[in-house]
């Protein structure tokens, strides 16, 4: 096993230029961290923390203003990537989004959605593709009959499982989950969290888990990084971070989680 981290992010910065005379926004400011192979790292923060922007820079949806992203030891140059390079990156990092109702092309059946990705990356025969589609659906706990369904015939939980299957189709080393369970009902959320744990146990895949929900983060991740206003304020193992938070903001987050005996206190005015 190598000591080389799977993802290395160094001095990452993203500034969104201002428009119509308004000043620009620094969404991410000098963020650095590493993710080891097989690890599950959480990026915790509230809205405006920059956690989603970091995820988008790692998967190539957003171009960093400064700083580097290295995956598997290879830097990802921020310029325009050719088709071959983009395909190669797709086999390294994949992403699951928050909204189950926007994650799937409404006009594509599940088997075509999955089949399209397989056809792009792997030279499989039609029969092999069908087998792989069945395999992926099984991996996410869905009946193969759903291959013929359209998104509008599926529930939120089912759609999110298909989204996970889509992300796993390229056999990526890293799965970035951007609030992937936040929009699901509690009982469905639990099912999907179990599924994610099972997938990780079976394949050793690495997770980058973006979330604002501390309880979910506790359940699913080994280490956590807390972001606020674009910067990292604290980083630790998840257990230590939540049991012994050091930074005042982490303590505030921790104290804001409802539970028995919780008394919300007014701390500030808006």
């Amino acid at each position: 096993m190598t000591d080389q981290p799977l993802i290395r992010v160094d001095g990452l910065r993203k500034v969104f230029p201002g428009r119509h005379g308004r000043p620009g926004v620094t969404a991410v400011d000098d963020v650095s961290f590493t993710v080891a192979p097989g690890e599950s790292l959480a990026i915790v923060g509230e809205s405006g923390s920059g956690k989603t922007t970091v995820a988008r820079m790692i998967t190539g949806l957003e171009r960093p203003t400064a700083g580097t992203v290295e995956v598997n030891g290879r830097p990802r140059t921020p310029g325009h990537a050719g088709a071959a390079e983009r395909r190669r990156r797709a086999r390294e990092t994949q992403m699951v989004f928050q909204d189950p109702y926007g994650s799937l092309d409404p006009r594509q059946r599940v088997r075509d959605t999955l089949g399209e990705i397989l056809a792009l990356h792997f030279g499989l025969t039609r029969a092999q593709r069908a087998d792989r589609v069945a395999e992926l659906l099984d991996q996410v706990g869905l009946d193969t009959r759903i291959a013929a369904a359209l998104p509008r015939d599926m529930s939120g939980g089912q759609r999110q499982r298909v989204a996970i299957a889509k992300a796993l189709a390229t056999r990526p080393a890293v799965l970035v989950l951007d609030e992937a369970v936040a929009a699901l009902d509690v009982s469905i959320q639990a099912q999907v969290l179990n599924l994610l744990a099972d997938i990780r146990d079976a394949s050793g895949i690495t997770y980058l888990f973006i979330s604002h929900d501390l309880a979910v983060v506790r359940q699913v991740t080994d280490r956590a990084v807390v972001m606020r206003d674009g910067a990292i304020v604290e980083a630790n193992t998840t257990a230590d971070l939540l049991d012994h938070p050091e930074h005042p903001y982490t303590r505030l987050l921790r104290a804001s989680v409802p539970g028995p005996g919780w008394i919300p206190a007014r701390r500030k005015t808006a």
């Binding site: 939120g156 469905i188 969290l193 028995p260 007014r266 005015t269």
Partner: protein, 324 residues
């Protein structure tokens, strides 16, 4: 003496392809100054319950059962009575404040409009009252805020404005439909603190609708749990959290990961939550319930008193459960 009594409420929507029951049997009560949490997942009917209480149902909806507010039956109210009820007795706040405030009018206009038309105050008087309310909900520079437009305020600030507007008419019951779901957790804590304070100061009763059982259990005096269009359990919050009686409540509590420790595997119930119109005969939760017997599939359970509250489960007395 109860302020609000919801009695076997049924709501059915009329659609082109047939009738759709949304609420099958909702029963609970709120005493003056009491905070009751109404918890459920998608399809449980919790939002529709709030709308029924405010009589804001979609056109063509049929109701059964009764909603009694301070002795008066809400479905039976005439137009004048209904207007007075909505303007003075109850107030409603929603999940998305931005969708419920006119974006082209100032915050001041929004707050003072109701005061001027319903309470007949002068413009200056209403502005003064609005400023005082904004200060109460914790907004800085309240006089300046009156002149601002909704897009200049964040989600958390707008929700405070909504609360201020809701309280302007001094209602006796606040219907809060997922008011903090779209907010950051720190902002949520703030808003819950404000609501708690205002409640105690004014003796305001609150119906707090949420999908978050922990939040309801921590902030409400009593919690009612809904599934497939009916109330399946209703207990004082502490008791519900420590000793849930209905298998669904137990499943819901256990499905949530805790912040204290990592559970090996979350005991998630199989299947997905149902809306009322997909409920089978018998108990709606039977297919997902670890304690279901063949009786559960044929006989529909009704709310019966048990311990400190009521439960709708045929086997509740047999099951002795406590959350881990």
């Amino acid at each position: 003496m109860t302020l609000l009594n919801v009695d076997h409420l049924e709501v059915t929507l009329r659609r082109r392809d047939g009738d759709r029951p949304i609420l099958r049997d909702v029963t609970f009560a709120i005493a003056p100054g009491e905070a009751v949490g109404l918890v459920g997942e998608s399809g449980s009917g919790k939002s529709m319950t709030a709308r029924a209480i405010a009589r804001l149902l979609p056109p063509g909806a049929r109701t059964g059962g009764d909603i009694v507010f301070d002795g008066a039956s809400v479905p039976g109210m005439g137009r004048t009575e209904l207007r007075a009820y909505r303007a003075r007795d109850i107030a409603l706040i929603h999940q998305d404040p931005r969708a419920h405030i006119n974006p082209v009018r100032t915050i001041g206009d929004f707050l003072t409009e109701a005061l001027r038309t319903n309470a007949g105050r002068t413009k200056a008087d209403a502005a003064e009252r609005a400023t005082a309310l904004l200060a109460e909900v914790g907004l800085t520079e309240p006089a300046h805020r009156l002149r601002q437009y909704p897009h200049e305020l964040s989600g958390g600030m707008l929700q405070r404005v909504m609360i201020a507007a809701a309280l302007a008419a001094e209602p006796r019951l606040l219907l809060a439909d997922e008011p903090t779901t779209a907010l950051d957790v720190t902002t949520q804590a703030e808003i819950m603190a404000i609501l708690g304070e205002l409640r105690r100061d004014r003796g305001l009763a609150v119906l707090f609708i949420t999908h978050d059982l922990e939040l309801a259990a921590a902030t409400c005096d009593r919690t009612a749990v809904m599934y497939a269009g009916e109330v399946v359990e209703d207990q004082p919050s502490a008791a519900l959290h420590a000793r849930p009686r209905h298998p669904y409540t137990t499943a819901l509590l256990r499905s949530r990961p805790t912040i204290e420790a990592t559970a090996g595997r979350l005991p998630a119930p199989p299947g997905a939550p149902l809306p009322a119109y997909e409920a089978p005969p018998g108990c709606a939760f039977a297919a997902r319930c670890p304690h279901a017997t063949p009786d559960c599939e044929t006989e529909r359970p009704r709310l019966e008193p048990l311990g400190t509250g009521t439960v709708a489960c045929l086997r509740a007395a047999d099951i002795q459960e406590a959350t881990p």
